[in-house]
């Protein structure tokens, strides 16, 4: 539930209307100029159809300098941002040789493994020397090394499932697994705010897709009952399989899934549960086992657990964990296993080492410290932002916190002003979020120290006042009563 001031909604629609009108006007004049100058490609069909790239050309390119910023160091708590300049009003950007040291509030570096780590990095370099940077083969041909076998066992143990299978890319995991598991005559019920990889995998599978209102178990029950009663679209035969796809932490909202209720409903109606823990594995839960541990759901109740290694483990790749029969089936049929290159050996070693650190098997308590730090950092940052009057989404304990901006002009304003003060934030707008709800998304890491967070809060508060995004009334400061009396105004 997002609470918007009514005037802000009206001004946001008006701003987008104005931007749209100016974009159309410019397109109209561009069409006239192009009609005058003959192009060399006579008789060829146009690459872009009509207004398909209107948004990119007329809205995104104007504020292009806020996105895709190149960095020249590892994405730790502080990193080096390469400065870019533009000579033609942001249509093209050129990299300069100047580099700026900025506070990183945008990387998915939840446990701080993105930078060199004292346990993981030597082992990864060792593996780089023994094996090679790439396995140069698919899993079935020659790409299964001892590391891959150990990694799969490690992941399965970490999650408390029977077996696991790993892939080289997290996005490809979702888009290659869903077509294998589901097909025609089957039903996928997915949350309305699911990630693009799930949407594309579901569309590619050929199954019927129904969407339920975000994180609303009652609506899920309604959709399930309706679909089971109606059956397949025209023949009304019963569905061959029904799968409900939800995410652990929704990356644009920072909200936790209402997993216990959803699992209870799926058990009642005998539907499978597919949980995508891309942002929650390793970041939430007392020992980092994700949203199941945090909300007290038994992992045996979740049929398919998917996740990625990019966020908390500082590597790349994705995994699926489930029963032995399921993983065996996937190894025979999944195209990402049969045809795609297997996960790179140093990346696999990084995951194994980081899981060992999180479990405490490296002999120190750094894992538990990191988990406690990220929980403490997230709760502190979120409560401070809310006290200042910002509208921050997300539940407690979630390291992802979007700050609502709404108006399209505030997106580049917030981003550029924060950059001037050496804080790098990620802003997200239409079409990744709904039109009205543009936001700046902050990802907190265990590598952020208390001073870093205080500096970030100071900068965000100053920029927030300048840009005007403190939509809620700020809480008054508590009066200090130590020694000197409180001055009466």
């Amino acid at each position: 539930m997002i609470t918007i001031p009514y005037i802000t909604a009206l001004t946001t629609y008006f701003s987008y209307g104005l931007l749209f009108a100016f974009g159309q006007l410019r397109d109209f004049f561009r069409k006239i100029f192009d009609w005058w100058s003959k192009s060399s490609l006579q008789g060829y069909a146009p690459i872009c159809l009509g207004l398909e790239d209107f948004y990119v050309r007329r809205l995104y390119l104007r504020i292009q300098d806020c996105f895709n910023r190149p960095i020249s160091s590892s994405p730790d708590a502080w990193f080096d941002l390469v400065e870019r300049i533009s000579n033609d009003n942001n249509k093209t950007l050129k990299r300069t040789t100047k580099v700026k040291r900025c506070l990183n509030l945008g990387s998915y570096n939840y446990l701080g493994f993105a930078a060199a780590d004292e346990y993981c990095t030597p082992r990864a370099i060792e593996t780089l020397k023994n094996f090679a940077p790439s396995s140069c083969s698919t899993r079935v041909d020659g790409g299964t090394t001892t590391l891959h076998v150990e990694l799969e066992k490690c992941v399965a143990n970490f999650l408390g499932k029977e077996a696991a299978i790993v892939f080289g890319m997290g996005y490809a995991t979702n888009s290659a697994i869903l077509p294998v598991l589901m097909g025609k005559g089957r039903l996928i019920i997915s949350d309305s705010l699911n990630h693009n990889s799930i949407v594309n995998g579901a569309r590619g599978s050929g199954a019927t897709i129904r969407v339920f209102q975000h994180n609303t178990p009652s609506h899920l029950e309604k959709v399930l009952r309706e679909q089971i009663a109606e059956g397949q679209p025209r023949t009304h035969r019963p569905w061959k399989k029904i799968m409900v796809v939800v995410e652990g932490i929704y990356s644009m909202e920072g909200e936790l899934c209402q997993l216990p209720e959803i699992v209870a409903i799926c058990k009642k109606y005998k539907a499978y549960v597919y949980l995508d823990e891309a942002h929650s594995i390793g970041a939430v839960g007392k020992t980092g086992r994700g949203v199941c541990e945090l909300l007290g759901v038994d992992t045996a109740d979740v049929d398919i657990m998917m996740g990625t290694f990019t966020k908390s483990f500082g590597s790349c790749g994705g995994y699926i964990a489930g029963s032995k029969e399921l993983i065996q089936y996937l190894k025979y049929t999944c195209p990402a296993h049969l045809y795609a290159t297997s996960i790179s050996p140093p990346a696999a070693e990084q995951i194994i080492s980081s899981i060992k650190v999180v479990n405490g098997e490296d002999g120190s308590s750094r894992g538990a410290q990191k988990l406690a730090k990220i929980r403490e950092n997230s709760n502190f940052f979120r409560s401070e932002l809310q006290k200042m009057g910002f509208e921050v989404l997300g539940d407690n304990d979630s390291p992802v916190m979007p700050i609502m901006l709404y108006n399209p002009a505030k997106i580049p304003a917030f981003s550029r002003e924060c950059l001037k003060r050496n804080v790098a934030v990620v802003t997200v707008a239409f079409p990744a979020t709904p039109l009205l709800l543009a936001r700046a998304r902050i990802c907190i890491s265990a590598a952020h120290s208390r001073e870093d967070l205080l500096k970030a809060l100071e900068v965000i508060s100053e920029v927030g006042d300048m840009v005007g995004i403190k939509y809620f009334p700020a809480e008054p400061e508590k009066q200090q009563l130590e020694g000197d009396r409180v001055k009466l105004e």
Binding site: M1, I2, T3, I4, P5, Y6, I7, A9, L10, T12, Y13, F14, G17, C48, L49, G50, L51, E52, D53, F54, Y55, V56, S192, L193, N196, V199, R203, V211, F212, Q213, H214, F430, P431, P434, L435, L436, L437
Partner: protein
């Protein structure tokens, strides 16, 4: 007044091109834009209020016909072109007919027509153009006209 908050719950519409119309504040913005454009036409052209309403009505007809019933597809490429054969009117509410949004959008041109004709005292030639405009707009919004292309106008290859 500045502290009037509304709640926005995410919808189940996956089409980003049309789901913005389900959020609060859209209807008010639409009506306010029409009212302010009437004031602007009055101040720029210094004509009678009736002529200004006629100008607003006809301009509204041109703009809404072009964007709701002529242009097809979505202004971004992330949806891989699954809506490329549908106009915006055919896309909203996932193709369901006679929803609240569709009824509102059908009533607005009719109300504008009534205001324009009343303030010009039903004189020709304004009445003719106004009637033609509202006729075209309302017929284009009928449920039976869903995905219909008369004489192949605006159809795909």
């Amino acid at each position: 007044m500045a502290n009037l908050y509304v709640r926005a719950a995410p919808t189940t519409d996956l089409n980003r091109n049309t789901e913005w119309f389900t959020y609060p504040g859209v209807w008010s913005t639409y009506i306010l834009i029409l009212f302010f454009s009437w004031l602007m036409v009055l101040s720029v052209f210094a004509c009678s209020p009736g002529m200004a309403w006629t100008v607003v009505h006809l301009f509204h007809f041109l703009v809404t016909y072009h964007f709701f019933h002529w242009k097809k597809g979505t202004p971004f490429a992330e949806d891989q072109g699954i809506y490329n054969r549908l106009t915006w009117w055919e896309q909203i509410d996932s193709g369901k007919q006679l929803t609240r949004n569709r009824k509102f959008l059908t009533v607005v041109p009719v109300v504008l027509y009534l205001i324009a004709s009343h303030t010009t005292d039903y004189q020709h030639p304004m009445l003719f153009f106004n009637t033609l405009a509202v006729f075209v707009l309302v017929v284009a919004k009928f449920p039976h006209m869903h995905k219909v292309r008369i004489f192949g106008i605006n159809a795909d290859q």
